[in-house]
């Protein structure tokens, strides 16, 4: 059994993004998806801080700190790109104008609840950013994450134990071992890496899974 690297998960997410859609990539792992979007497709990347048509990272000598992404890293603007203020940017999100949003997660439940902003630990400094707005606003919210924590616990769960970001908002979860659809009907397995069986995956997640 060969786990997918983070890059391979990103490439798998990118494969499902069709031409012509408006996409928001969350901070952290999802940012990698941009590296795997094929150049021959017009895909519009939205950044919550007021950018549509966001391009790749600039060359060292072209860095402009007024042109950064949601993770505060320098980016570029593609021809046809635009700038706007935060009110408009989150109207795009909340108003259902963003087709696909890719978020990272601490946990996702089989019915699509998302937990990705707070571990709930007492000494943690909470930060939410745009995650709650994206979770309820984008037409399709997908998650990209490793299936297990470092301690081997499944992050796809029956019910999230961490504080929620959004209720029943996720529709697909891309992981290093499998791709799942989640929602009112529970979790189903869209695909698995070679050498992994449904029984292995059930044992690993402790969930009732069915084929998609």
């Amino acid at each position: 059994m060969q786990r997918l690297s983070r890059e391979a998960i990103a490439a798998r997410v990118a494969k499902d993004i069709p031409e012509g859609v408006y996409v928001n990539l969350g901070i952290g792992l999802p940012t990698k998806v941009a590296d795997f979007l094929p150049n021959d497709r017009d895909i519009f990347l939205h950044s919550e801080n007021g950018i549509l048509g966001m391009g790749p990272a600039p060359a060292e000598d072209e860095i402009d700190w007024d042109l950064i992404n949601a993770g505060k890293q320098p980016v570029t603007l593609l021809a046809g790109g635009s700038f706007f203020h935060h009110g408009e940017s989150f109207s795009m999100i909340r108003g259902g104008h963003i087709d696909i949003c890719v978020l990272g997660a601490f946990q996702v439940s089989v019915n699509g609840d998302l937990a990705n902003w707070h571990t709930g630990s007492a000494d943690a400094i909470p930060a939410v950013g745009g995650a709650m707005d994206l979770a309820v606003g984008a037409k399709r919210v997908v998650v990209m994450m490793e299936l297990q924590t470092k301690r081997g616990e499944s992050k796809l769960v029956e019910r999230c134990s961490y504080p929620l970001t959004g209720v029943a908002c996720v529709s697909r979860v891309y992981t290093d071992l499998a791709v799942f659809d989640v929602g009112p009907a529970g979790a189903s397995v869209v695909e698995m890496v070679d050498g992994l069986s449904m029984a292995d995956l059930q044992a690993l997640t402790q969930l009732e899974l069915k084929p998609a």
Binding site: N49, G50, I68, H85, G87, P126, A127, G129, V136, L164
Partner: protein, 234 residues
């Protein structure tokens, strides 16, 4: 002749009293009015309620206000950053109150204040800790949380070009919260890197009309050339 231009950053912020609520534009380092904040720190006002996206990083900007212990409460969406140590230590010591607001709700509540709404129903945050105890309503099968406007006594924003009537343009993603904060404060103070003669800014490109701006300050002065490199790049 009306001119909203003031001579210095100090002149611009000197009326901000202890206990004032102050909106500060910026997302990361982009659009943070560092010169105005520096003058606010130098001026000594404290017990402030600050409304912004982040809680400061490194040593400058909002971090400098935190370091100087001038902030009683901060309303923001993303305080935790790799170098937010000045906020982190004040927060852990219980010296600064935090109201954490989802970023889009922050923007919408600021817009609601500027636009004169009494409250808004927003879907973001429904069913989460951040909506606990708040009134909710189902509208057309979707759940919403009642949130109230956020207004402020002052807004400190960074723009690119301004004129003496207070019309403003912005630069790239440094626009972020500037235009909406300008609408939500009783007194909006803009720092710009260029003052244009009246009529020189194409009216089609003005982002913030002067009605929302009370004072502006040109931070491109020669004496501040060094700082301009970091805070006022044109």
């Amino acid at each position: 002749m009306i001119s909203k231009i003031v001579e210095s950053a100090y002149e611009a912020v000197k009326e901000i009293p202890n206990g004032a609520s102050v909106m500060i534009s910026g997302f990361g380092d982009a659009g943070v009015p560092n010169e105005l904040i520096d003058s606010l720190v130098e001026g000594g006002s404290g017990d402030l309620t600050v409304i912004c996206n982040n809680a400061g990083a490194g040593e400058t900007g909002i971090a400098a206000l935190m370091k100087a212990n001038r902030v009683r409460k901060i309303i923001c969406s993303f305080p935790r950053q790799a170098t937010s140590h000045h906020f982190d230590s004040r927060y852990r010591a219980g010296e600064v109150e935090l109201e954490l607001v989802p970023q889009g709700n922050l923007a919408a509540r600021i817009q609601a204040a500027g636009a004169g709404f009494g409250a808004i129903y927003t879907p973001a945050g429904y069913g989460t800790l951040l909506a606990e105890g708040k009134e909710t309503r189902e509208i057309d099968g979707r759940n919403y949380v009642l949130e109230y406007p956020i207004e402020a006594d002052f807004a400190l924003i960074k723009a690119r070009v301004g004129d003496r009537w207070g019309n403003l343009t912005y630069r790239k993603a440094a626009r972020n919260f500037g235009p909406i904060m300008a609408m939500a404060a009783k007194c909006t103070i803009a720092q710009v890197s260029e003052i244009a003669p009246l009529g020189a800014i194409d009216p089609e490109t003005i982002v913030t009309p002067g009605i929302f701006v009370q004072k502006l300050f040109d931070c491109s002065g020669a004496s501040q050339a060094e700082r301009r490199e970091n805070t006022c790049s044109a």
